[in-house]
Amino acid sequence: MEKRNTEKNTLPLTALKQGEAGTVASISGGHGKGGGFEKRLMDMGLTPGTTVTVVKSAPFHGPLEILVRGSRLALGRGMAERIFVEKEK
């Protein structure tokens, strides 16, 4: 899996194990005009600096269940791969 190193060590959200948390560092736009979904993620509360907890992931590379700002979201895996987080200790 592609890992992007900006200033700090960040990993895609999908690299977190169940129950682990991280803070959002950046969201990569991906190919094409990805602006729409980036804004959508922000509107759902995934702004830089927010703590995200991975609750579980559906089997066979299914979507992730995450907790963010006190609510529970289902997030398609393709999208979760583009969210980069700093793992919390």
Binding site: R40, D43, K56, R69, S71, R72, R77
Partner: protein
């Protein structure tokens, strides 16, 4: 008279109980339509209260006022242009931070508003206490606690809304204060715009321009391109300072503000119950028990609907066909009588015997699943599978509906975010074998060749859905959108709301389907009595007899199937004069006939539903494609099966 009229809009996130409040307020005086020219639903209702005639508009459930979806655009345009006297912002007390993010955006539109702090009971059971006075003070907006499913606080909410209008408590609410750099730029832009006139408040325009909102940019560009140019320059400066794009910075800061208010106004105590809903959530989304539960629920639902539907449908049909002698004596058995009974009445009976027994229970169950929260778990579990055909988990829901009836299923494709996905989902849905198709599969192949053949056909159907879905996904241009969906806590839904939603759907179905079914059946009856049908059978015989190897008469019955798929089997029995199909059809012919009937065309009511949401061109394309595909498939199957059997 105008002074006694009020316009109230309901706005808020999805699944916060907005429609429950709407139902409490408006009772039966409501109707659901579309926003002009949009496939976005618009629910409106009227009520009389304290001498006022109040129109209430239920805006779609959204998370933001940006341009991500049609729903968001429609909502903010409505608030800014139609200027409702007051907006009731329904807020979920159990997810305060996310909901306040939306509230803050509404406040930026500087509309008079009242907050309905709903689901206080759920918040309480999650151990969240909200200090209402504090929240009011922080927001500068009146806050009324409600438990909509129990009707608690609704009357007071309405009183407060009216009071807000009467006292003119407008534009007094606090603004979100963004960071210093951002505020500075907003100030500069407002200064630059002070001579211009917009429908939106200047501060809102300034913020949206900095966020790079395309729609607002376009509007302002027309008035003064210089402003947009300045905004872009200022936004670039912010990006320079923060290292994120300006829209990200603003969204973050707005969320920070929402978080601060939420934290200041709520107190977390330990939850009363170690959350049953939490355990239920874990059970129903677990990688083993979740799927078992899903299969079990689906089987149970289908079993219930088919048993109930079958019984009721038979009962109703016996009852209604019992009227035949009366019609015969009233209109005679001549041409007119024949047309009235065989055309109009049989069409009507056909409609009634689908709607009441199959569609009504289907909708009740669907809305129960949706309002309770289970539907979003199903979408979560099925996301992966649906991705294989380029759609996300939510598309499983209309597909599931399709097993009952394709018509509501096609209309249900509106839950997808983009027009492209709506079309793809609708296409896939028309391939799903509906209740009527099931009648053919079970009644012909199941009864005469054994249930394993029927199941094999079902399985084959799923394979075809998969293959064609994938193909369509490749062919239709555009990017797939991924799943982003809130899974709210499980809750017991409000019965009256479910019944009302069901009623509106059924009414919609009747409006679309009934005229077509009745006219169609009249036309066919006319063709039958005028002897055109034999000619049609002869014309079609190169396809039916030569290519598909079926009796020529099936050409006629398949045409009847366009009205209602199981009619193709019923007519076959009528025209052949026997229900023992084994005497007249070989096993291979049965399979070929069933295959063709499964795929050959969406029924006339489904076509109507497609036209309504996608226009004639696309609907015609889907229809023609499916006819060609079914004929091709039938012929190939004939040749392969003859070799094999």
């Amino acid at each position: 008279m105008t002074e006694n009229k009020l316009l109230i809009a309901l706005a808020g996130n999805a699944n916060v109980g907005k429609s429950v409040i709407f139902n409490h307020l408006t009772g039966l005086h409501q109707h659901i339509g579309n926003w002009p020219g949009k496939t976005v639903e618009r629910a409106e209702g009227t009520l009389h209260f304290k001498g006022y005639t109040i129109d209430i508009v239920d805006l779609p459930g959204i998370y933001s006022l940006s341009t991500y979806s049609l729903e968001e655009l429609v909502s903010r345009k409505y608030i800014a242009v139609e200027r409702p006297d007051v907006v009731i912002n329904v807020v979920d007390a159990s997810v305060l931070e996310r909901n306040l993010f939306f509230t803050l955006q509404l406040m930026e539109l500087e509309t008079p508003m009242v907050i309905a702090l709903n689901q206080m009971d759920i918040a309480k059971s999650k151990g969240i206490q909200v200090d209402i006075k504090k929240l009011e003070q922080l927001l500068g907006v009146p806050v009324m606690p409600t438990v909509a499913v129990k009707g608690v606080g609704i009357a007071k909410l309405l009183e407060k809304a009216i009071e807000t209008v009467e006292k003119g408590l407008v534009k007094k609410h606090a603004h979100v204060r963004y960071g210093e750099e951002v505020e500075e730029k907003i100030g500069a832009l407002i200064e630059k715009m002070k001579n211009a006139q917009f429908v939106y408040p200047p501060r809102y325009v300034a913020i949206k321009l900095l966020e790079g909102d395309e729609e607002i940019e376009r509007e302002i560009q027309r008035i003064d391109p210089q402003i947009v140019f300045t905004a872009k320059k200022l936004a670039a400066k912010i990006e320079c300072i923060h290292g994120h794009c300006c829209s990200t910075v603003i969204t973050s800061e707005r969320y920070e503000a929402a978080g601060c208010i939420a934290r200041a106004a709520q107190k977390l105590v330990s939850p009363m119950k170690p959350s049953k809903v939490e355990r239920l959530h874990n059970f129903t989304t677990h990688k083993v028990t979740g799927y078992l539960m899903l299969v079990f629920s689906l089987l149970l639902i289908f079993y219930f609907i088919f048993t109930f539907g079958d019984y009721t449908s038979g009962f109703l049909s016996d009852l209604l066909y019992g009227l035949e002698p009366f019609f015969a004596s009233a209109f005679g058995t001549g041409l007119v009588g024949n047309l009235i009974w065989g055309g109009v009445m049989e069409g009507l009976i056909a409609g009634i015997t689908i709607v009441l027994p199959y569609i009504i229970p289907f909708y009740i169950i669907l809305y129960f699943l949706e309002n309770s929260g289970y539907l979003s778990r199903i979408a979560f579990l099925m996301d992966n599978v649906m991705h294989k055909i380029g759609l996300h988990g939510k598309a499983f829901i209309p597909m599931m509906l399709g097993f009952g009836c394709n018509v509501p299923a096609c209309l249900g494709c509106r839950i997808m975010e983009t027009q492209r996905e709506r079309l793809l989902a609708a296409f896939v849905t028309t391939l799903v074998p509906c209740a009527a198709t099931t009648v053919i599969i079970l009644g012909l192949v199941g009864d005469f060749l054994g249930i394993h053949w029927a199941l094999a056909l079902y399985l084959f159907n799923l394979v075809i859905i998969f293959v064609l879905g994938r193909l369509a996904f490749r062919v239709v241009p555009g990017e797939p959108t991924a799943l982003i969906m809130e899974m709210h806590d499980y809750r017991w839904p409000h019965t009256k709301t479910i019944l009302k939603q069901t009623w509106f759907r059924v009414a919609e179905f009747i409006k679309i389907a009934f005229p077509l079914i009745i006219v169609g059946s009249l036309v066919l009856k006319l063709a039958e009595v005028s002897g055109v049908l034999e000619t049609v059978a002869a014309v079609l015989s190169p396809v039916t007899v030569v290519w598909l190897g079926l009796p020529a008469i099936t050409g006629i019955t398949l045409i009847f199937g366009v009205l209602r798929k199981e009619l193709s089997l019923v007519m076959l029995a009528a025209l052949l004069g026997t229900t023992n199909f084994a005497l007249v059809l070989t096993p291979v012919q049965m399979i070929v006939f069933t295959l063709v009937a499964m795929f050959y065309i969406p029924c006339i009511a489904t076509i109507a539903a497609l036209v309504r949401d996608f226009g004639w061109k696309k609907s015609l394309f889907i229809t023609v494609f499916e006819i060609a595909f079914a004929i091709l498939l039938g012929g190939v199957a004939l040749r392969l099966l003859t070799l094999a059997m």
